[in-house]
């Protein structure tokens, strides 16, 4: 597939972004970047068109011929496990006249047929049927007219990632430091993780960067926005205690944050019950990874640009159920300058009992996701930020404060002898992860060809 050169930045967008870049090191972010059609279009090309995007987990298509339909920005892809067992990602566009060929969000099919003129494709993308071939197409070389395969695909611990830029670095390189932390989480069990059912999907009228910022390292918002979760008892790690921990700028715009007490000698492992910890194969972890995993209470992060995750113990019913570890993994799909579709998967280690998976699902669903007692509140400020960023005056004039933890601001300090990848700060009263995200974002948006 040919790679066209990038569209030139308009002088207006260039000016906004350069001003943002100039102010970022003083801890100032520009509201004007949060609701702008031209910036959105530029992001689709320069960020989502060049970065690794998450589409599906292998466990969603466990059998031959299984498929799911997924999106990158405004393009739709079929993630299919072929009749040969191989996973492929193909654009859901018939190369004849451009119609969609897939009519369900998930299913099982060896072939896909376009409803318009009947071109038919095997689930590896090969064109195998063109009605009235002799009369209509006797000179056609079918091999040249298969489905368009995603330029790059890599599978990381069962997570299927796609990159639309043939020349992008490998996934491992792109993940930079955050790959080490994800390895730590996903390697705890030999069997790895699996999805617990279909993802929740819902719509927030907010810009994707606001959600990405939040999961990159905004622990500070728990003190106010999520205060109700403390009142009702679903979060049992005390608020201020939970701020003890590390923000890690993991390179390439990725951010990860740990609530942790490295002084503690008790193995915590996110409070997984003993019978689950027994299933962990700690030999899979390096000594350093083990040290971190043992002390971890909460891990939250954002894989730049728009993939966020969270592991922590919460109780769906504090009177009768102890805090249960959960894992949520989500994509903030940009649907426009001011809208995201949330794709929210709950996952758990494969080699755990059905009972534990259900308990973890219940803890997850009751606290995170569309009806989660935590997440219910998040959309409120995210939507108002987006609305405000549309204001002609606000857009031009609002310098937003992103200075927490900078020199002379609060108590956070860089951990000079941080033994793990990335640059770390302690405690979590700190917005360096968000600045790290925007630094990378601006670099990629302003890149010259």
């Amino acid at each position: 597939m040919s790679q066209q050169s990038m569209s030139p930045l308009s002088p207006r967008v260039k000016a906004i972004l350069e001003e943002f870049q100039a102010s970022l090191e003083q801890g100032i972010s520009k509201m004007g970047a949060l609701n702008d059609e031209e910036i959105h279009q530029t992001e689709l090309e320069r960020i989502f068109g060049k970065r690794w995007n998450y589409l599906a987990h292998e466990s969603e298509i466990p059998n031959k011929n299984d498929y799911v339909l997924r999106c990158i920005g405004d393009d739709t892809f079929i993630v299919s496990r072929g009749s040969d067992g191989e996973i492929r990602v193909m654009l859901d566009v018939c190369p004849h006249r451009g119609a969609s060929i897939c009519r369900a969000e998930k299913g099982s099919s060896s072939h896909f047929q376009c409803p318009y003129h009947g071109w038919t494709f095997k689930n590896n993308g090969d064109l195998v049927g063109t009605p009235s071939f002799k009369d209509a197409y006797s000179g056609l070389d079918r091999k040249e007219w298969g489905l368009t395969q995603a330029p790059r695909m890599e599978i990381f611990h069962g997570f299927v990632f796609v990159c639309l830029d043939e020349n992008a670095p490998d996934l491992k390189d792109s993940l930079a430091g955050i790959g080490w932390y994800l390895d730590m989480i996903f390697s705890l069990q030999d069997e790895g993780m699996e999805v617990l059912g279909d993802p929740q999907r819902f719509v927030i009228k907010a810009n994707w960067k606001i959600a990405a910022e939040n999961f990159s390292g905004d622990d500070y918002h728990l003190l106010t926005l999520h205060k109700s979760t403390y009142e009702i008892g679903v979060m049992q790690i005390p608020l201020r205690e939970n701020m003890k921990g590390y923000h890690i700028q993991a390179g390439n715009g990725h951010g990860v944050s740990f609530s942790i007490d490295l002084e503690s000698k008790d193995p915590l492992f996110f409070y997984y019950p003993e019978e689950i910890v027994k299933t962990f194969n700690l030999d899979n972890l390096t000594e350093k990874q083990l040290e971190l995993a043992r002390g971890s209470r909460v891990c939250v992060g954002n894989i730049f640009p728009n993939i966020s995750f969270l592991m922590l113990p919460l109780s769906p019913d504090p009177k009768t159920i102890p805090p249960t570890p959960l894992f949520t993994w989500r994509v903030w799909q940009p649907k426009g300058k001011d809208e995201i579709e949330v794709w929210n998967w709950f996952m758990m280690y494969k080699n755990t009992s059905e009972e534990f998976k259900r308990a973890s699902y219940r803890a997850a669903m009751s606290t995170f996701g569309i009806a989660g007692t935590f997440e219910l509140d998040d959309a409120i400020p995210w939507e108002s930020i987006t609305k405000n960023a549309k204001g002609s005056f606000a857009k031009k004039n609002m310098n937003l404060n992103l200075q927490m933890g900078m020199e002379g601001m609060g108590v956070a300090n860089q951990v000079m002898d941080w033994p793990f990848p990335g640059t770390a700060y302690y405690p979590r009263y700190e917005e360096g992860n968000q600045r790290h995200m925007y630094r990378q974002y601006l670099k990629e948006m302003l890149a010259e060809d």
Binding site: G197, F202, V203, S228, I232, G233, T373
Partner: protein
């Protein structure tokens, strides 16, 4: 088994009263209408091929509640920090197409299927949202009063057109 007209009428009145309690924000009174073994679930819906037996997920849910967890949600709704619903959404339930069957074993239980349309508006926005779907409810007579023992909500949406479900259906 067909429901005698008088009981059918009592059932409809129960659901209309219940909806009024929700739409007027009387969530604690609403909780009082639930049996102790109350269960409430909204399964995730996924667009499937025609041959698929159901579009509803057996594990994945938007909500899957017991009386205890519903109490926690109601407690949260009255919290000073219920930012999600401050100001509260204006909700209005439209209930219709009531279909009822007596339970085959328990004489004091009726199963209702009801179509609903739920309007949600907020603040001064001229825009609004709708949820549409079907409720599968079981009501049980306990000490002479009807109580809700089970609710399954089958939404007509695969992607929920809302930013949260901080409201009650």
């Amino acid at each position: 088994m067909k429901v005698p007209f008088e009981l059918y009428q009592e059932g409809i009145e129960f659901f209309l009263h219940e909806a009024e309690l929700i739409d007027t924000g009387k969530f604690k009174d609403w909780l009082g209408l639930m049996t102790d073994d109350f269960s409430y679930r909204i399964p995730v819906r996924v667009t499937r091929e025609k041959a698929a037996p159901t579009e509803f997920s057996d594990l994945a849910s938007h909500m899957d509640e017991t009386k205890n967890t519903m109490e926690i949600r109601v407690l949260r709704a009255y919290s000073e920090y219920n930012w999600a619903e401050d100001p509260a959404s204006r909700t209005r339930h439209f209930l219709t197409n009531f279909r009822a069957q007596m339970d085959q074993n328990a004489k004091n239980e009726i199963h209702f299927k009801t179509n609903f349309l739920l309007y949600r508006g907020k603040f001064d926005l001229p825009t609004f949202q709708f949820l549409s779907g079907e409720k599968h409810d079981t009501i049980r007579r306990v000490d002479g009063e009807w109580k809700l023992s089970k609710r399954l909500i089958l939404l007509d949406h695969a992607t929920i057109p809302m930013n949260n479900l901080a409201i009650f259906i």
